[in-house]
């Protein structure tokens, strides 16, 4: 049974490493789905906006980590 627990823990760890990073991605996706599916369905700019938000989340998370670990 211990290996099942390990697998569950490992699978969770596949998606979540830094909680705030995963949370920000999830929140951005939910916002995009809710807003864009109503406002921008079929729009060509929806994809780039989705990417831009994700890229910003990545940049912010990496720089925050760097700031914390270089003080």
């Amino acid at each position: 049974m211990r290996w099942i627990k390990s697998i569950v823990r490992e699978l969770y760890g596949l998606f979540v490493d830094d909680g705030s990073f995963a949370g920000a991605i999830a929140a951005w996706l939910i916002l995009c789905v809710v807003v864009m599916s109503r406002v921008a369905a079929g729009a060509r700019w929806a994809g780039p906006v989705l990417f831009a938000g994700l890229a910003l989340i990545l940049i912010q998370s990496v720089l925050r980590f760097a700031r914390r670990h270089t003080k």
């Binding site: 994809g47 940049i59 720089l63």
Partner: protein
């Protein structure tokens, strides 16, 4: 046209195959490192039996669950709209891929330690020797299996194997006909790593695992973004070829972040 396939379809199948291969390669190398460490310290028979048993159990689970999954109608006459499947699978791949990409950027910028299979091999072997010294020895005749070696090899193979199965399902769920290229990618990775491990009897330190993780992070993030976009009804410029510009865009962002973080004095952690 490539072998009767349209360029877009060939791009989708090709990128799925390569992404599944690279992601599975990383997991297989990690499993192989531990199996090699266990085998070299405690004996090959028990370690290989443990790994093979896990492989059979995993294959049995996939064989049992696979046909059930195939019966769930994801396309056409379905109760689950396909865009919902794309959204959920895309979000999972995105979380998975961006986590890898973030970690890879932190590694390349020197903020966390690089993954080193040679060092992992030595650490695993040391841990096994310590466990060997502290745990009372079980009767271990020439014909009996070493339970420690068996369970260590079994656990790591189940663990990494489950991750490979997840990768295959995630990539395979991205569209009709993608399960086969995703499975082929994973099986190829397994064969390559098994052959290399058999030939070398050493951890695959020459596999540029950190570079691979960087690239897999980029690939998965691009795939995840594309599928989430499709799921929410976005129209991508260039259709499926948008995956390629998404890969390029993530790569540029990641490559710009590395020197930006490197310029700060690092406090390396593991």
């Amino acid at each position: 046209m490539i072998l009767g396939l349209g360029h877009l379809e060939a791009t989708r199948i090709g990128t799925t195959l390569v992404a599944a291969f690279l992601a599975s390669l990383v997991e297989c190398v990690e499993a192989l490192t531990v199996v090699l460490a266990v085998g070299s310290v405690r004996g090959w028979r028990s370690a290989l039996t443990g790994a093979a048993t896990a492989f059979v159990v995993l294959a049995g689970i996939v064989a049992a669950i696979g046909p059930l999954l195939m019966r769930i109608p994801l396309h056409g006459l379905t109760r689950i709209p396909f865009h919902m499947v794309q959204l959920v699978v895309g979000a999972m791949i995105l979380l998975f891929g961006m986590r890898w990409l973030r970690k890879a950027i932190l590694r390349w910028s020197g903020l966390i330690a690089m993954h080193d299979e040679e060092a992992a091999f030595v650490r695993s072997a040391e841990a096994i020797r310590e466990a060997e010294a502290s745990i009372a020895q079980l009767p271990n005749g020439t014909h009996s299996l070493d339970k420690f070696a068996f369970s260590a090899a079994f656990n790591i193979t189940m663990l990494e194997g489950t991750e490979v199965v997840f990768v295959v399902i995630a990539f395979g769920a991205g569209g009709a006909g993608l399960l086969l290229p995703a499975s082929l990618g994973a099986v190829s990775a397994l064969l390559v790593v098994a052959a290399a491990g058999f030939a070398l009897h050493r951890p695959l330190a020459r596999v540029p695992e950190n570079k691979l993780k960087f690239m897999v992070g980029v690939l998965l993030s691009a795939f995840g973004t594309f599928w989430v976009g499709e799921g929410m009804g976005a129209v991508w410029a260039g259709s499926d070829l948008a995956i390629l510009w998404l890969m390029a865009a993530y790569l540029v962002v990641a490559l710009c972040l590395v020197p930006l973080c490197r310029s700060r004095p690092a406090t390396v952690e593991g």
